[in-house]
């Protein structure tokens, strides 16, 4: 078993990665700009629906129900999909999934595949595995294409290239598409992508997709998109391979009525996204003649076994929590070191890896609760973050400085006398480090604490002292 979430196991800690990114003003500007636009649009289309809260509640209940009976729904999906002419494969981890994809492509002697945006394939590192096997993957989502051609990493679940501006994109396209001239308006760049990709859509015979939703009772798969690259990938090639995380199941076709309202409004702030494709197995004379589904675990069953945090699997990958998060909005997605960034990434990434990696992510939050408020399936992210922090501490994986500070705090707060003594001590000890009432760097091991936060200096007089003196003054 080798559960892998992109390169997350090797990524630097969040505070270290973030500190570096905070210096990148261009990136921060782009992230702020993009998240502001989506937040505004989301808020206005959510406000339009008087039954939004009822939809969220239904979404939460349907997801929780599905996860409680996931074995049943997966088998039901498998049966229905197989009856409709699809082939269903099961993969325990990233390597197993990649191997299945590669064998299917090699069996057709294909050397190229077109891909429609799938987070799951980024999670399992599919592109690298394909390239190692001599197969060239072409990303067809515009943002994914920008990321792929720029040899870059995605920074947002829904708009993966929001950290790039149009001049950077123009440069990448001219270089990688071999264009001698190209305008820099978004229209020019989009047209260049249309021309570059159309030839591939018409020629390449194998496509790989993810799934936004998989319907257990009918065996149908639904892809939610805007550009039409999804429609191209699921209807032009001769063979389609669809990678589905096992948590993407919903019980019935009718349940689409909930998620096809929640997802577009939360993700892009649209009443409905331009295109949805819903298909079931194979259809004679329409679309691929060979259809494979890979049901992927890769750590999901381990999340499922945690009663306190299993709601993480309710996630429908809308990205609303990223846009709402004050931490994400400062750092952008790369600081998280995972294909899943932002609040959902902070709870999903370490859990998928059985809490063995990415332990700094549950701390990448101010616990303000904005993520919970916008979550279309009501995942209580702050509560899960706290729970996971507890787990990090219990495992003894918390940073040394934090353990030391917490231990000292516990000792000092135990008795009022100790607390006043500690205050008096701090007042003297802080002198060399204080400037204008703020401490930015502490020495030695305690430096770990101030590496990621400023401290307010202990004031010259405590409230208790002030109160005592004031009372005395009044009496006099």
């Amino acid at each position: 078993m080798s559960v892998r979430v992109g390169e997350a196991a090797r990524a630097p800690d969040f505070p270290r990665a973030a500190q570096h990114l905070l210096g990148n003003t261009q990136l921060r500007h782009n992230v702020r700009q993009a998240t502001n636009v989506i937040r505004r649009k989301r808020a206005s289309v959510v406000e339009e629906l008087p039954d939004w809260q009822a939809l969220r509640e239904a979404g939460r209940q349907i997801k929780q129900h599905t996860l409680r009976h996931l074995d049943f729904y997966l088998e039901q999906f498998e049966l229905a999909c197989t009856r409709a002419g699809g082939h269903v494969h099961w993969a325990r981890d990233a390597d197993e999934a990649n191997q299945i994809v590669i064998s299917l492509i090699q069996a057709r002697h294909a050397a190229e595949v077109i891909k429609v945006k799938t987070m799951t394939s980024d999670e399992i590192g599919l592109n690298a595995a394909l390239e190692a096997a001599g197969i060239t993957p072409y990303e067809t989502d515009l943002a994914d294409l920008i990321v792929q051609l720029g040899e870059d990493r995605p920074s947002h679940i829904v708009v993966p290239a929001l950290h790039r501006n149009k001049l950077e994109i123009r440069q990448i396209f001219m270089e990688k598409m071999g264009l001698s001239d190209l305008g820099d308006r978004p229209e020019d760049l989009t047209n260049a992508a249309r021309r570059y990709l159309r030839e591939k859509f018409l020629r390449v015979s194998v496509a790989i997709s993810g799934a936004n939703l998989a319907v257990a009772d009918t065996g149908s798969v639904c892809i939610v998109e805007s550009e039409g690259n999804g429609r191209m990938c699921v209807s032009l090639p001769e063979m389609l391979i669809t990678l589905i995380g096992i948590e993407k199941m919903i019980p019935t076709f009718q349940d689409l009525e909930v998620f096809l309202q929640l997802l577009p409004r939360s993700a892009t702030g649209e009443r409905m996204n331009p295109y949805n494709s819903i298909w079931t197995g194979v259809t004679p004379d329409d679309g691929p003649r060979e259809f494979h589904v890979i049901l992927l675990d890769n750590g999901r069953t381990s999340v499922l076994s945690q009663q306190e945090s299993r709601d993480t699997l309710n996630c429908i990958r809308c990205g609303a929590c990223l846009n709402a998060c004050p931490v994400y909005r400062q750092t952008g997605g790369h600081a998280y070191g995972s294909v899943y960034a932002g609040p959902i990434g902070a709870i999903l990434t370490p859990q998928l890896q059985s809490m063995e990696h990415s332990q700094s992510l549950p701390y990448a939050s101010s616990l303000c609760g904005a993520c919970y408020e916008v979550c279309p399936v009501k995942i209580n992210i702050p509560e899960i973050l706290i729970d996971l922090r507890g787990e990090v501490v219990e495992r003894g994986d918390a940073p040394f400085s934090e353990r030391a500070v917490m231990k000292a705090a516990a000792f000092a707060l135990e008795k009022p006398g100790r607390f006043s003594a500690a205050q008096a001590l701090a007042r003297v000890a802080q002198v060399p480090f204080e400037r204008d009432g703020v401490i930015r760097h502490l020495p030695g091991q305690l430096g770990g604490w101030t590496a990621v936060r400023d401290l307010t200096a202990v004031p010259k007089r405590s409230f208790r002292q002030w109160w005592r003196e004031r009372t005395r003054g009044n009496l006099a």
Binding site: R68, H69, R92, T190, E227, T268, T301
Partner: protein, 212 residues
């Protein structure tokens, strides 16, 4: 022997532990207090659909049933087109004189790519979201027919228009197993600096004729 399958299912069963209620009774108890029924009359419903389609940048023309083929003629003439592709079973009464219509009988992708556009009907439309639903069959064509051409003219009849998404999905559930595409305006992207650009890979222009 399928060990991956058995292992994943076993892990799920181990993780779920003992269940408080049976699946069926739990499923029936799921709270669905969202709107599922229409509140608008026909006129208001159609106006809402038109408004939403305009919002997406689609052009909408309204006509009465007897004038449909004339409406088709004026829309495609207005787009300076002389020939469109059609699905095999499109009603012949929709087609005006003076234009060429080529039925999709094993057209190649290149032929579709080289065409001036496509004319189809639809299965239903959802007013609240401005969504057109294609049920890919002989009436609305296979999926590639309404995807590869750069222009799509879609005929929507008033009695096909529902108000809410739940009404629409419940209709769609009846088309068991048939591939479905929902279209809400022409293809679009906001991937570059969040600027909306219309027309990426699907038809860049969508026109709708609403038949009352």
């Amino acid at each position: 022997m399928n060990t991956a399958r058995e292992q994943i299912l076993k892990r799920i069963r181990d993780a779920s532990g003992s269940l408080p209620a049976s699946r069926e009774s739990e499923s029936e108890g799921l709270v669905r207090e969202y709107r599922t029924i229409r509140t608008l009359n026909l006129d208001a419903r159609l106006d809402l659909l038109v408004d939403r389609l305009h919002d997406y940048g689609a052009m909408v023309y309204r006509c009465a049933e007897p004038g449909l083929n004339q409406a088709v003629a004026s829309v495609i003439a207005g787009r300076a087109k002389s020939a469109l592709l059609i699905p095999p079973d499109l009603p012949k009464t929709w087609l005006p004189e003076g234009f060429r219509f080529r039925s999709d009988r094993e057209l190649t992708y290149s032929e579709m790519d080289a065409s001036e556009g496509v004319l189809t009907g639809c299965a239903l439309a959802i007013a609240v979201t401005g969504t057109i639903v294609l049920r890919h069959s002989s009436g609305e064509g296979r999926r590639t027919l309404t995807l590869i051409p750069d222009y799509h003219l879609c005929i929507v009849r008033a009695n096909q228009v529902v108000e809410t998404v739940p009404e629409g999905i419940r209709e769609m559930a009846r088309f068991k197993g048939v591939p479905l595409t929902t279209i809400s305006g022409p293809s679009a992207t906001s991937d570059i600096e969040m600027t909306r650009v219309q027309g990426v890979h699907g038809p860049r222009i969508l026109d709708v004729i609403l038949v009352e």
